[in-house]
Structures are given as structure tokens and as C-alpha cells.
Amino acid sequence: MSEKKGHPAEIRSDMAAALRLEWWNIGWTISIIIVMGLAMGGSQAMKTAWVEDSLGLIPPIAFLVAAHFEARPSNRRFHYGFDRVNGLGFMIAAVALAAVGLFLLKDAVTVLLSAEHVTVGTVRIWGRDIWLGWFMLAAQAYATIPPLIIGHKELPLATRLRDKLIHTDALMNKANWQTGIAGFLGVAGLGAGFWWADSVAALLISGSIIWDGWKALRVAVSELVDGVPCELDGSGLSGEAKAVASALRKQFPKSRVLMRETGRYIRAEVVGATPPKGFDIKTLDIPGLDDRWRLDSVAFRP
């Protein structure tokens, strides 16, 4: 936790798994960026998908940087340690996710308004002229698989680690595989003579991505300005925070309980009470809080 070095023992193995997964995520995303870059040709839909895949690198990199800092002990300049670096990374990931949605929306609207007809030519291989769209379809199909699998693996880790940054990365992976399918349908539709196909698909998908990005941004901003601890996928008060508040109110009935979230940890403050002799949060009875590491500290303000 904050004033100590490293993560709590209870989450170390999950943290190690998350670090491994995010390195894999970066590796697969780079492979997708290369494959898409080679196949994109003159297709705007492919270029858009390529830019979005590139933006998909931001959350895993932010997580690795945040995890590196989070493990550091407090020092003379940072008395409370680096727990909130995760929150900062969450903010960056949320901006990247919202940017992907807005980028997709802008591109779809531009293509639809300008009625842009995309040209996809051919390449001669061993004497046969092959439509480049087939390579694009293969690249798009490839680009949907890793984010689908990695995003699926990230969700349980994000839940166990209470890590909104990983959760946002899972949403980013969801955005990437959905965009991949939109791109696939777009190129397939283009081949069928429907120039508007990819833009309509992208328009529909951009709505849900922007919504996810907006929700993540709200929570990230809330965390950075000391808002109450939120649920992983929403802006409502988390069940664990409710449990902490309820336990503290029960023990200190005439006081106010304030709470905030620093990264994955909850910090509480009891206003109008002094700590009883021998008070220890480790032994405090908190029904509903199974993962005790989540509560970092309880401060008192008489």
C-alpha cells in the first residue's frame, strides 16, 4: 500500500498475471498494427481501424507504467506513495477510449456526407490479379481475435484487482474487436458495391464506444478530484465503500464518514470522533468487505 513498498500480498499474483497479460496485449496489438498497415491500401475504413488499433496501445502502456510506479515506496516528495498513478493512467485510458469513439464517429459521418466511393485495387501474384480487399478482410478478421480474447481475460482480473485502468482497457479491446467487425463488414460491403456499408456500421458502433468512454471519463475525473469510491463500471458508490461507511457509522454513530478512492484503495475519514484506544482497521468488523486490502486507511478528525 501507499506508505509501504509493493502491492498487498493478497493481490500480488493477480498483479503479476495482469502485467503478463498487458505485455501480451502490447505484443498482439503491435502485430495487428503491422498487419493492418500492410493491408490497408487506400481504404479509409482500414486507415481508421489502424489508427484505432494504435490508440489501443495507450491503456496497456499506461497500466504498465502505473504498476511500475505503484510498487514504489513513498519518498520525501511523495509522502503518500504512488497509489494514484493508477488513477492517472485510468484517466489517460478513458480519454483514449473516448477519442476512439469520436474518431470513428467523425470518420463515418464524413464518409457518409461526402458519399465517398472507396477504390480497392488488385495486385498480381503468380500471374493472377487478386483483389486487395481479400487481404483487407483477412487482416480485419485477424485484428478482431486478439482483442476479443485479451478483453475477455482482463475483466475478471480488473474485478479482483479493483483496477479501473484494466477495466477501461477491456472496454478498449471491446471497441477494437467491434471496430474490426465493422471494418470487415465495411470491406465486404464495399466489395458488394455498397459504398456506405462500413460507415453505417461504424456509426452504430461509435455510439456505444463513446458512451463507454464518457462513463469512464466521469469516474476518472471523479477519482482525481477525490470523489467517493465508485463501482468498476459505473459512477455509483461501490458496494465495498457502502460497507465501510456502514461499519464506521455503526462504531462512531455521532460522526460523519468521508471517503475517497486512491487508485484501487479506499481511504476513509471519521469526522467528529477520536480513535478508540487500540483501534486497528485490520480488526474492525466490516460486514460486506471481503477483500480487506481494499481499505487502505481510516483517519480521524475530532
Partner: protein
């Protein structure tokens, strides 16, 4: 559920590929050329050099053999012909165009039949089609490669 969707998607694509020409033209250029036996051609700067005339004639003869269409030729300068092409008033324009011409993204410039140098820059004699006519463009690309030996 996702697997079902993927199978459905691939089946749909296979059906599309199997039920006729794929890719298809947005404006149906190749279908119309083959149905009407006429290809509307704009020649930029016609008559031009003897070499360009010979290359253009050879290309149109190849196109005629493959599509069964005769060329209906209109001569003119680049701007009006390319505007006419964009408005679907022509099926094909043949002329010299620089690689950094502002028209490059507005129309589909096929690989050149020949390239010459002017003022230190290269200019290609290329067939030019309307963007999005992917079946037609694929046919033109193949014919150019046949004529130039795929260089």
C-alpha cells in the same frame, strides 16, 4: 453466440463471392459496358505523341476484346474530362497525370502504360476510372499489366 455470428458472417461473404462477380462496381460500370457494348472513353490531350497514341490504341483494343465493347471516344483537356468521369459521364479517361496531381485521390489512377520524365518529375500515361468501381478498376489494372508485362 459469437461463433454463430462469425459462421453467419463468413457464410454471407462466401455467398456474396459465389453468387456472381466480386467485387462489384458501385455504379455498375463493367455490367453496363458489357451490356451496351460501348465504353465511353475520354482522351486527354489527344492526339498527343505517336507513342502515346499507339499505346492507347493497343490498350483500347485489349479492352474491346475482353468486354466486347467498342470505344466511344471524346477528346479534351484533363479538367473537363475528369469532371465528366466523376459525374459518371465517362467510363474511362486515358491521359498523362503526375503522381502528385490533386486529382489522385478524387479518381482511381491505374498503373501507367508508360512513364516519361519532365522537369525532373515523372508523368505516367494512365487509364483513369471513377472511384469505387472496383470490378472495372481490377479489369483495367489486369489489362495494363498484360500490356506492360507487369513492370
Amino acid at each position: 453466440m459469437r461463433a454463430c455470428r462469425s459462421v453467419l458472417l463468413i457464410s454471407l461473404l462466401a455467398a456474396l463471392a459465389g453468387c456472381g462477380a466480386y467485387p462489384r462496381d458501385v455504379e455498375g460500370t463493367l455490367d453496363r459496358v458489357e451490356a451496351q457494348h460501348v465504353v465511353r472513353v475520354g482522351l486527354i490531350g489527344y492526339p498527343g505523341s505517336e507513342r502515346d497514341r499507339a499505346l492507347t490504341a493497343a490498350f483500347l483494343a485489349r479492352l474491346g476484346r475482353v468486354t466486347g465493347a467498342s470505344p466511344h471516344i471524346v477528346a479534351g483537356s484533363a479538367e473537363p474530362l475528369l469532371l465528366q468521369l466523376q459525374a459518371n459521364g465517362l467510363d474511362l479517361v486515358i491521359g498523362e497525370i503526375a503522381p502528385d496531381s490533386p486529382w489522385i485521390t478524387d479518381v482511381a489512377v491505374i498503373e501507367p502504360l508508360s512513364v516519361r520524365s519532365q522537369g525532373g518529375r515523372s508523368i505516367g500515361l494512365s487509364p483513369i476510372a471513377m472511384n469505387g468501381e472496383n470490378q472495372w478498376i481490377g479489369l483495367l489494372e489486369g489489362l495494363v499489366r498484360d500490356q506492360t508485362g507487369g513492370r
